[in-house]
């Protein structure tokens, strides 16, 4: 620490009422031979005095209203979030139970239901492969307008199917399948 730093350090102590009143004149005398140090000393005094007299900043805004509104909103948000988390947790917790119950019910009501469902899925894949090979063979000899028409028709069909799948539940879909009904009849 050089001499000027020591002088400024003592000035800070003086400003914090830790040194006697006479200390300031002594500090100024010590700093006087060095203009830069004296300038820093005076600037620190200026800062201190300006800070001492700086007023409180006013605001016209009434925070009591906005804080109350914000609190109400946050409480609602927290409740909704908590409710969502609890619902999700309940669903996750219930899923194994529901599956077991559904499986038990299905086995009790329709003993061969699971096996039938599996065989239906295998036959569906096998049929789809057959249809695909046939379709490829047809496509080779098909005019362009027909391909466009079929493509449009299939796209629309898949879209409708996707929509229907979204709207339905998987177990209901299986039970509603005509193939299942035919095999279990």
């Amino acid at each position: 620490m050089n001499d000027c730093d020591a002088i400024l350090q003592r000035l800070s102590q003086y400003l914090d009422n830790q040194l006697p009143e006479t200390e300031l004149s002594a500090l100024r005398q010590e700093a006087a031979p060095r203009p830069e140090c004296l300038a820093m000393l005076d600037a620190m005094l200026w800062v201190h005095r300006s800070l001492e007299t700086a007023p409180m900043v006013e605001t016209s805004r009434d925070f009591s209203v906005s804080v109350t509104h914000e609190l109400i909103w946050r409480q609602r948000r927290d409740k909704i979030f908590l409710g969502g988390i609890l619902t999700l947790a309940a669903l996750i917790a219930l899923t194994p139970l529901l599956l077991v119950v559904w499986g038990g019910l299905a086995a009790a009501l329709e003993p061969g239901l699971i096996q039938n469902a599996l065989s239906w899925a295998v036959s569906l894949i096998s049929d789809a492969a057959t249809y695909a090979v046939a379709a490829l063979t047809l496509l080779r000899h098909m005019p362009q307008w027909a391909m466009v028409s079929i493509s449009t028709f299939l796209s629309l069909s898949f879209l409708l199917l996707a929509l229907a799948l979204v709207m339905q539940k998987a177990p209901e879909q299986l039970m509603a399948s005509p193939e299942i009904h035919r095999q279990t009849a």
Binding site: L8, Q9, S12, L15, D16, E21, T22, L24, S25, P35, E36, L38, A39, M40, D42, A43, M44, L45, W46, V47, H48, R49, S50, L51, E52, T53, A54, P55, M56, V57, E58, T59, R61, D62, F63, S64, V65, S66, V67, T68, E70, L71, I72, R74
Partner: protein, 204 residues
């Protein structure tokens, strides 16, 4: 100077007890009572009106949600100002400005000197508080907090230390460095002109 050991006044204590039980109207009264000092602290710390308003609102919301942790043996204003200063320091740090640390050389040597902090020009068109705000904005959050708490709220070293979670010697050191940095800003803006003849000197 404030008295950190003083307890909360009875009427205020009733409001706080009601607020602790969930009475938002009671808390609204508390907000009305303390919005001015909290806003001033946020403004002095952040230097921006809009951000200070947001910080003030957030301070009161944090106060409400943590009201059960408030010790009535403390002054409520001290507690809420602690929340405000911590929140403002967090905001300042999120700005990702490369503030100087305590161990660094004076920060003022590393930053460009804005035209607007020339005290000669500002004296004619801005109030002292505006000038102070500009210099405060140049300080790192660690230096700014003790300055605001000391000069605007009359906090003792002990209260500042408690609020900031640092030791009393660290408070003194930061205050000294803050004053020195602000003084350096002034002398740099003065360039060749001596400041001694320009600034009002306290009576000897």
């Amino acid at each position: 100077m404030n008295n950190a050991t003083a307890s909360t006044p009875p009427s205020e204590r009733e409001c706080l007890l009601s607020a602790q039980k969930g009475d938002q109207q009671a808390f609204a009264q508390i907000v009305q009572s303390y919005q001015r000092p909290v806003y001033n602290l946020c403004y002095r710390m952040l230097g921006n009106q809009q951000e200070a308003e947001d910080a003030t609102q957030e301070t009161f919301i944090r106060a409400y949600t943590n009201l059960d942790r408030f010790n009535p043996d403390r002054k409520f204003i001290n507690w809420v100002l602690t929340i405000a200063s911590n929140h403002c320091v967090d905001r300042l740090r999120k700005r990702r400005i490369n503030w100087s640390s305590l161990e660094d050389d004076p920060y003022v040597e590393k930053i460009p000197m804005p035209e607007s902090i020339d005290p000669h020009r500002n004296a004619e068109r801005r109030e002292t508080s505006d000038q102070m705000q500009q210099w405060l904005d140049q300080l790192s959050p660690d230096y700014r907090t003790p300055v605001v708490l000391l000069y605007w709220y009359g906090y003792s070293y002990e209260e500042i230390a408690e609020t900031m979670g640092i030791s009393v010697p660290a408070v003194k050191s930061r205050l000294h460095r803050a004053r020195k940095q602000m003084a350096k800003l002034i002398t740099q803006s003065q360039s060749s002109r001596p400041l001694a003849t320009e600034v009002p000197i306290p009576a000897l």
